[in-house]
Symmetry: C2
Subunit: 214 residues, 2 copies
Amino acid sequence: MTIQHREAALPDGAAVAPDQTIDHAASDTSGRAPLSCTRIIEAAVRYVDDNCLDELSMRRLGSELGVEAMSLYRYFPSKAALLEAVAGRLLRDLQLPDDANADAWEEQIRAFAVSFRAITREHPRLVPLLSAMSPEDAVPAGIHERMVGVWRRAGLSETDSRSAQRALQSYLSGSSQWHQESCMGRAAEHDFRYGLDVFLDGVRTRVAEAGGAT
Amino acid sequence: MTIQHREAALPDGAAVAPDQTIDHAASDTSGRAPLSCTRIIEAAVRYVDDNCLDELSMRRLGSELGVEAMSLYRYFPSKAALLEAVAGRLLRDLQLPDDANADAWEEQIRAFAVSFRAITREHPRLVPLLSAMSPEDAVPAGIHERMVGVWRRAGLSETDSRSAQRALQSYLSGSSQWHQESCMGRAAEHDFRYGLDVFLDGVRTRVAEAGGAT
DNA sequence: ACCTGAACACCGTTCAAGT
DNA sequence: ACCTGAACACCGTTCAAGT
């Protein structure tokens, strides 16, 4: 039951222009450019980065954009939908595997993991948003499938591939929580690598067993 | 900056009796027993189990207990403090290692992991609460130290032990999110074991290398 | 077409007051 | 000692209205 941006489906069936900011300098906060989904999403990310998730309200976000809260409802049907779009926006920066490279599975997994980590380190205050969403909603199904493909090509069975990807995602999501306030850096980067290495060691063993069969 | 139950520290310095329900049948919801921290915490757990975290408000929790919202502030200084106490209550059921058993490290780790998982499976709607807290606050430092002790006795170095425990905690916390609504059971139990096994395999290798040195 | 104002049904929390 | 009432400064969201 993924909530979506409102696209058409307005009371009178009128379409909504999702994105009309052509000007690249659109990120000037002065704020006379017309509203758009992306402008709203970017303002939300900025607001949470500068303050915190709990402090984000439709009213405050509106005034950040020089607009009444109610105007935002032309672009998103609810606050929940807006937040989901914000999460989607963040995960756009995930580094996805390249289907061509057959055997570089470990680099591809690592690149994905590190890119996820980079996102949460850049936006620690948005971490609670990602973890409030169920993992299935957080990482779109398409991405999940592509990653399962990497595990398959590495040599794992279909079920093991799905389990491995879910385990990786669990680990990434859990690790990101250490970025929240109050448990500052604390050798977090080293710990992250350690866990990832241990996990990949374990998988490598299984791949060797399944593939070479000694 | 862990928030605590109010213990004394009332405006006039009066102490608060945290727990006077002697009667074991105290969980009858009829609700004329006097308020107490534990009674409030239990009602909160029940309420979230039956509804969801977002719907828990001081006003509603109060009326669940047959009392005005404001009465709760005699026992907890804020809603945040109450929620933290709820989390603490849940984690009371963690199965902690027994310092005696020197070499059963793997069973002890597994027991801890499985008990964490049992808690989140019993209370899926409280998972967002646990993941909203930083991992350091969620699992009290004492528990963390005892688990680090297990890794040490397994044969890991001090730094590796801390990293391993943090990785395990990350994995457990991340895995629990699959219990949230909308991504129903979905072979979750199998996936959980798989990730845990892979992780422990990886650690076992390191223990062997460090200990036996081939 | 896009934005606003006023209103509704809620919040967490404070404080003075009841018994 | 323990609980309440009224109030404050907020919420998300609806809907009719402005331009």
